[in-house]
Symmetry: C2
Amino acid sequence: MGHKVTFFPGNVTVEVQDGETVLDAAVAAGVQVNSVCGGRGTCGKCLVIIDGPAESEQGTLSPEEYRLGYRLACRTAVHGDLSAFIPEGSQVSEHQILAAYHGRGAPELTPLTEVRRLDLKAPSLEDNLADLERVTCALGTPDLLVPLPLLKDLPRVLREGGWQLSLMLSRQDGTRRLMAVEKGAKGIANYGMAIDIGTTTLAAELVDLNTGRTVAQASDYNRQLVCGEDVLSRIAYAEDKGVERLTELVVDTVNGLIAQLCAERDKQRRFHSGTCDDDIASIVVSANTSMVHMLLGLDPTHIRYSPYIPITNVPPVLTASEIGLRAQPDAPVLCVPGRSSYVGGDITSDILLSGMHLSEDLALLIDMGTNGEVVLGNRDWMIGCSTSAGPAFEGGEVSCGMRAMGGAIDKVSISEREVSITTIGNARPRGICGSGLIDLIAQMFVHRYLDKKGRIDTATSERVRSSGRGMEFIIHQEAGEKPIAVNDDDIAGVIRTKAAIYAGCSVLLRTVGREFADLDRVYIAGGFGNYINIDNAQTIGLLPDLPRERFELLGNASLGGAKLCLLSEKMRKEALEIYSMMTYLDLSSSNAFFDQYSSALFLPHTDLGQFPAVAERLAARPRE
Amino acid sequence: MGHKVTFFPGNVTVEVQDGETVLDAAVAAGVQVNSVCGGRGTCGKCLVIIDGPAESEQGTLSPEEYRLGYRLACRTAVHGDLSAFIPEGSQVSEHQILAAYHGRGAPELTPLTEVRRLDLKAPSLEDNLADLERVTCALGTPDLLVPLPLLKDLPRVLREGGWQLSLMLSRQDGTRRLMAVEKGAKGIANYGMAIDIGTTTLAAELVDLNTGRTVAQASDYNRQLVCGEDVLSRIAYAEDKGVERLTELVVDTVNGLIAQLCAERDKQRRFHSGTCDDDIASIVVSANTSMVHMLLGLDPTHIRYSPYIPITNVPPVLTASEIGLRAQPDAPVLCVPGRSSYVGGDITSDILLSGMHLSEDLALLIDMGTNGEVVLGNRDWMIGCSTSAGPAFEGGEVSCGMRAMGGAIDKVSISEREVSITTIGNARPRGICGSGLIDLIAQMFVHRYLDKKGRIDTATSERVRSSGRGMEFIIHQEAGEKPIAVNDDDIAGVIRTKAAIYAGCSVLLRTVGREFADLDRVYIAGGFGNYINIDNAQTIGLLPDLPRERFELLGNASLGGAKLCLLSEKMRKEALEIYSMMTYLDLSSSNAFFDQYSSALFLPHTDLGQFPAVAERLAARPRE
């Protein structure tokens, strides 16, 4: 009796016999799992998270790990179809998911938690303000929320410190809350975390809120992958089995990042105590609406069904302990507000980082994540939609696709029938990421390996050959290894993705009676945005045919926007204003979208008049 | 080896032999303790709280009762000097401490917790507000704090109730917090408690916050009495042994009142389930600064030493669960702000109920509690002080004194050498309360039983006789029982008390360059204030010699002010304004006070010119 085992990240499926171990399956699938002891259950390195029928012993796992669903791959027998998620630490080599971004800086340092120092006058019969009021008067915060234990300790702190003290305050929905008091003038360490929680990957920064400087970065795959690869399958999982498991998995992923960030910081500070892994004082989360629901343990069911109503787009500021995050228990956790079920807080963060909501210029913002959200507008109005573009640019649904991380082919150029590639980190090529796919398809089209419909020309090169899924084109092959190649199906997937995004842009413009030529700026956000070649993206019809200088690449703008909110009160207000001013356009009920989408399922487009510069480049190419 | 056992309330001391029980001591002292089984430890009625060396078994007590310090008097052996507090239920008969008050009503119903009903439109693709934002928009509360469990439940409540729902919101330091949501239009029960926590007694009201009506009243002695009779001895106890025991005792007293109030309400509603004893949704506390500290578990030590700085005069709004009160865990607990260590929130409540802070008229407010606080001012300014008057008017330090409760002699008149009395509740006389003492001393003075120095005339009547503490005057005697009598020491105590209060008033007026004749209103607050005879109070020199119509008796204004704050946002703001506008005058460093005090140690005063009407009445009396 064969069972299917699917490994994440990567979505690689293999069939094994009943009773074989998950480590056996990994070996069969060519998925690399760390195993120092060679499968004897002693090294504890081959940690996986399992969803499905399997039998396992606790082995070297702690009870907490076991409760969270961690298993040793070598000690877990497969008894049915299942999914297995391989956490970062169990992968043979760690590949940093890129999390760089560019855009506005914070205008001033008014972080979500701030440290204030006070040097007070000692009281007297004439100046007989009570201890607490002496402090709140000096701070200028009459409505300060003060937890009872801190109030109890206040007289001691004041008197032992000779009326000098440092205080940590959090800002929460218009109020301030006292988080810590320490005697004397030495201050209090104050670290915040900005985090982008994507459906597939998470990226986080640890920021010293006393200076505004980022001190560590970390990223990881979302451990929810074991419950389904895209948002809709996760919601279906929640509907079927409850949201609790999804919450547990994403909280566990975030807590892993917290540990990574704090370890990195402590290494820099040359601390080795290991006691500083939970002193984060505030957290800003930038995520799509479903991820926010799952993080907070909110049932996402209604997101999936018309009229697609989430429980909240503006979650209340909660505390780390309410959510289960390993930060200071009272640390405020702010989720950047989103507009709707399918245009979430990650998009608000993108906009915030771009600054398009402050300018007279008409701008278009495209977030090239799984959903391909698009926002059009300026400082007076804003309209957004989600195009359900699919995960092709994130490495999904493409046979050799992968995220923009070490070993991914990120640039491709073809000349004289030679294919040149570069990889992220100059590592050995492992697959191709979004920017590489755009280059590849554009260059194949320009060099006539592809026709206008995206079909591989059967008679062009020794790189082209027949495969199980139509023709395939070999991008790269190391001696004696499986080639990295794309096939007709892969290319069709990329074309559907680019068509959806372009159609979304077209519909938004038409809705407000404008054209592509009216756009002053086009912002590109998303994890692969740093590498994208604009010319090639125009050639395949993903981006509109506008002058290069109108485009701006933001990178992981969701993370960048989260950091802005972490640092600045003004930015948090702007995020709320973006929420208030944006209109959401639901494309699922839009005929115009399907018309536009169909017209865009060509390279670059059925209407070549929309791509005059591309047409010129195509016309200028030599007959080969 | 003899040990002293002191019983509270009442402060009656008796000496017993080592190993005798507390019940033996109570019998010896004439203190009535309920004991149905006659001391066999089976009825569980003779509950006492012990402070001091004693040996006891748990008997029929629950572990929780035993932990709180409850003991069975019949099963507790005395092994040293100790104090024993007899809770209300263990006293043979229950005597209601009077808690009536008169003054302003609440201008509008904006209670500390309010229930709102909503009838929302169902969402659609066009009207796609998220669940939470749909609710906060309808409520007009964008900054609503929402606990995660309620947020998780919100989609179910909305959809099952057909978009009709009721919500309970609390107001806390400028923000609103969601406390409960229920589907449908049936509303939510919403009860609040106003409570006056005095050093000696507590009085509370249960108020239906949906209507503003008081539905039950209750009162009890402060169980802290077992740790000392006055505020300073309680602070000394806290300094010596920590504040925790005092907190536990006052919280236990309050929880007892909550149980009484809810039982009374449920009786009215004919509920017998017994499950409704902790559904109070909000609490307003009116108390002196030390009691507030002890309730919240704040160290009161610094209140006792110059410059007398409390931890806070404006405590943050805490929750019932933080304090340990048996209300809804999230129920907000607001302490009415006080001005200083010795002019507390109870005085702010007095002022609030009087309305003197809103009028152009110059008013004087006297709170005749243990400390005898006095406030002078109008809507533009206010100055307050504490006179350390002592507890004579509350039944303390007077041999036959008692609180204004059932059986207390509250009115005395003498004519034709006949003494007429009335008692509260027309009960058999048990002692004399403050208003009775004022009447008695005034009438004795007018009828020449007393000289100007307050000494009992030795040759006036068969009611006068010699006693262990100078001469004594028999007020009342039932056949075969101990007479109710006052002696020279008792009267000296009352005169010291009235002198301190009058001196405090004089000093405040002098400080601002005004005279008694300038006063438009004189407000009298305090538990005995309903009964006070103004003429007699002027005769002894307690109250200034002004026309009767300028006086207003407020009764238990501290409780009345607490109820105002429970009911109205405007009242809560006014309380804060009173806090802000009042100046505190410390009399402990005032020579003027000691001069005025010395001059007032006569009947009515050394300067008879200050009491022209009294002088006239005295001159008009017939030579007897």
